[in-house]
Amino acid sequence: MKSEFQSQYSTKVMEHFMNPQNVGQIEDPSGVGDVGNPTCGDIMRLFIKVEDGVITDAKFMTFGCGAAIATSSMVTEMVKGKTVEEALEISNRTVTEALGGLPKVKMHCSVLSEQALKSAINDYYERQDKPSPVNIPEDEHEQCDLYDSDEEE
């Protein structure tokens, strides 16, 4: 009940926001995903290094809110050591859960992290000229302004 009115971040989110893991670029990446829109205040750029079908490294650069930075950090942590197929199982829900939840108004930031990951994997397939099995999820909302539409007037 309480969380419905809560617009606060969990301790886990704040940890990843203050000490984000895997910030930076990979010099010679296997795939790069670049999603978001500066007009809406968020851009996420995710780099993966794939060796023998396994993601051995992941890095990110993000322009965005606290949740965007924390989910970027979390998603890069989660993919490392996974096979590409396993990585495709990661969704905005699993990222959010790993962070101990996100305020309702910040859910779309976790969608962004899923998009960034999938688009990096997509890029990995394309660079290899392989058909991509990836379905990049659409952010359900077209406009930047997400809060209003969800709530009562």
Partner: protein
Amino acid sequence: MKRIYLDHNATTPVHPEVKAAMLPYYEDLFGNASSVHSYGREAREAIDVAREQVAELIGASSPTEIIFTSGGTESDNHAIKGTALSKADKKGNHIIISPIEHHAVENTCEYLEKRGFEVTHLQVDKYGIIDLQNLEDAIKDTTILISVMHANNEVGTIQPLAEVGKIAKERGILLHTDAVQSVGKIPLNVDELGVDLLSLSAHKIYGPKGIGALYIRKGTRIDSLLHGGHHERNRRAGTENVPGIVGLGKASEIAKKEMEANREHLWSLTEKLRAGIQEEIEFVRQNGHPEQRLPNTLNFSFEFVEGEALILSLDMQGICVSTGSACTSGSLEPSHVLAAIGLPPEIAHGSVRISLGRDNTEEEINYVLETLPSVVNRLRAMSPLYADRMKKRKEGKL
């Protein structure tokens, strides 16, 4: 960790003297001001005193021109809907507002628009100042109300309101001003400004939350917003919030007395801060008018970083500031004020409002100047926009 509060345009702590003035009205003097017996009379007298204190602060010619409301939002709603509904079907249905009004004005007008009123938004220049010719041109035969805020909550810009007052008077149109951010901070007189309706709120001037006032010039007839008992001479129903009203009165008295000293203090601190930021940090823009501004308010855009990330990071260092207005921080819309002054959205997203108060010290400003650059740098170091920009610079493209 010591916290440095630099968000006084969002709200202020209650002044110790204000709190002391309020306390007796919770337990010993708890009467309902409408009661005939002694408890009621004590409450009534306290309200009378407060009404005079508020009238004094804004130069109203009679305390009967002041009604107490639940805050700035109610005052704005009351002024605008009250005018609209009392004039509709008679004089007209056209309202003119600035494009940088607080949501309490803007969304009220939007609501009225849905119900058949016509609303014109003026233009502002890059500092947020309206154009008087533009205003004159916007006036129609059906115009019933002009509402232009006195000082903006996000960027601090002060409007040439007395000029607006002259135009409104000449054309016989009611003028409302949302003076929530200017009352108590800068000198203000309802007659000099020529306003018919003025909104103010206690919690912005070291008074309590949940109480405000609406100035209604003698002879101005508008509909009530809250109907019920005969309170406030039939203009605002509801048992009077006596401790709140006493608090607003006391806060008004103190604001008047301390205004000059506070203005000087705040101006010198903000100038120091502004100069320091512009010296220490690259890619930063000041928003709002550099001189025609509230003495306590600064607004900057730090390019390539997002505002919420910046204020969260500062919060971790004990520095409390905000992005634009506190009311929109829950939402993801970029500020309509920054959009109106022409800031591109990606830059508007990196904006921070720093609003000082009477208790801030030079030491605190020094701490901010030491801390802010590294916080901005940390976020820029993870920003893809900054990386791209630096790459271009290295490639000699800029």
